[in-house]
């Protein structure tokens, strides 16, 4: 590197040029990758729906997506309703939290419409610390499976340290609490969409022909 003093103009010019070039490179890569990233996130979502609503068959059934506005919140929540003919197999709520250690994470929560219980959770995207907060993913720990089969309305969604029922991840209390926050949001959206669809437990549990009547 040259030891001689550089003129101010040269400094400004070099830095501007490098930044401009960097911005241009970044912008073009963003444009190129935008479509594939959207596709892979779409694919991830449909895989997640299939994983948490196991009776759903993508070849014979269909998914209807809707957005739900929760009172007092700015961002709407997307809800995916899985159908087989006219029968609702389950509801997958694409919920999120802004209270995570890494800012925000998105999870998909499946609900069984008969019993109002959670059928499973899938992490869509997160920025939690590897080895600690990333245990919100069921591939990494048993933490998320503790909610399976539970009715969230009857559950005290607080970590045990704060008098709740949730077994927090060791050394990742913030992530655990954020997960509960996302579940709570998911539960609210689930109840709203259930009300909107006018589903009650008896209907969903009844014979197929009765269901057809309900659909008419």
């Amino acid at each position: 590197m040259a030891a001689k003093e550089s003129s101010l103009l040269k400094l400004v010019l070099t830095l501007t040029l490098v930044s401009l070039f960097a911005a241009a490179a970044l912008a073009s890569v963003y444009v190129i990758t935008k479509e594939p990233i959207a596709q892979s996130s779409q694919k991830k979502k449909s895989n997640a729906i299939q994983a948490i609503i196991q009776s759903y068959n993508p070849e014979t059934g269909h998914i209807q997506s809707e957005t739900v506005n929760i009172e007092g919140e700015e961002e709407p929540v997307t809800v995916h309703i899985a159908y087989q003919d006219e029968t609702v197999l389950g509801i997958a709520v694409e919920t999120f939290t802004n209270k995570a250690f890494g800012g925000r994470f998105d999870i998909m929560v499946g609900f069984d419409v008969e019993n109002d219980v959670v059928t499973g959770t899938e992490v869509l995207s997160h920025g939690e610390t590897p080895g600690l907060g990333d245990k919100i993913d069921k591939k990494k720990s048993d933490f998320p499976t503790q909610f399976n089969g539970k009715n969230l309305a009857e559950m005290n969604l607080k970590v045990k340290k704060e008098g709740g029922e949730v077994d927090a991840i060791t050394a990742a209390t913030i992530s655990s609490k954020a997960f509960c926050d996302a579940l709570e949001r998911g539960q609210k959206a689930y109840l709203l969409i259930k009300e909107k669809l006018n589903l009650n437990p008896e209907q969903a549990a009844s014979e197929p022909n009765k269901n057809e009547e309900a659909a008419l």
Partner: protein
């Protein structure tokens, strides 16, 4: 300096974590398991080789006074591009490495090597230096990760060790355990080097 020694000096003699004490923040954070260590190590190696290459290419036109901002712009741009490309075209890799990539921007090994080596040496030598430093970083992460995973989780690479399972020492998964293991490994390396 021979080409080979440019690469191998990063392994032990000038190991970025254990001897130069750079990049300790990601080291402490991700070494809870061997798998995380390997993931972080490989992602960093990849970025190091290419960021060293770019910095070295730009070294003739980089004015001394603004070199640090230029290094940072180059590194941050490069990491973001890698992040986008992996997300778009290799989603399977993004799933396992995606978490580590944003952490690389703040890894001072990358900036440290840009300043200490790539800004003064040729393109090929700089890439070799990046490779060696990346491998050295990976070695350090794997050593620390192995100790912490065995003692803290009773497993190695996710496979349970019969005797250790049930006798885990939780503190080794937590931050204080990271400091303990880091300190002991560093001391051991210093001891071996003095001999």
């Amino acid at each position: 300096m021979s080409k080979l020694s440019i690469v191998t000096k990063g392994f032990i003699k000038e190991n970025p974590v254990l001897v130069l004490v750079l990049g300790t923040c990601p080291t402490l954070a991700v070494t809870t398991s061997v798998e995380n260590g390997i993931g972080m190590g490989l992602a960093t190696t990849f970025v190091l080789v290419l960021s060293n290459m770019f910095i070295s290419l730009l070294r003739k036109i980089t004015p001394n006074e603004v070199r640090i901002p230029i290094f940072i712009v180059v590194i941050a741009t490069f990491v973001s591009i890698v992040d986008l490309l992996i997300q778009g075209f290799v989603p399977a890799l993004a799933e396992s490495l995606g978490l580590f990539i944003p952490l690389i921007v703040v890894n001072c090994i990358v900036l440290g090597r840009a300043e200490a080596f790539a800004s003064k040496n040729g393109v090929f030598d700089s890439m070799l230096d990046g490779l060696g430093m990346g491998i050295g970083f990976t070695i350090a992460l794997v050593i620390i990760g192995t100790v912490r995973e065995i003692l803290g989780s009773g497993a190695i690479l996710g496979y349970e060790i019969p005797f250790m399972k049930g006798n885990e020492i939780l503190i080794f998964v937590l931050a204080p355990g990271a400091f303990f293991v880091f300190g002991y490994v560093m001391a051991l390396v210093r001891f071996l080097q003095k001999k």
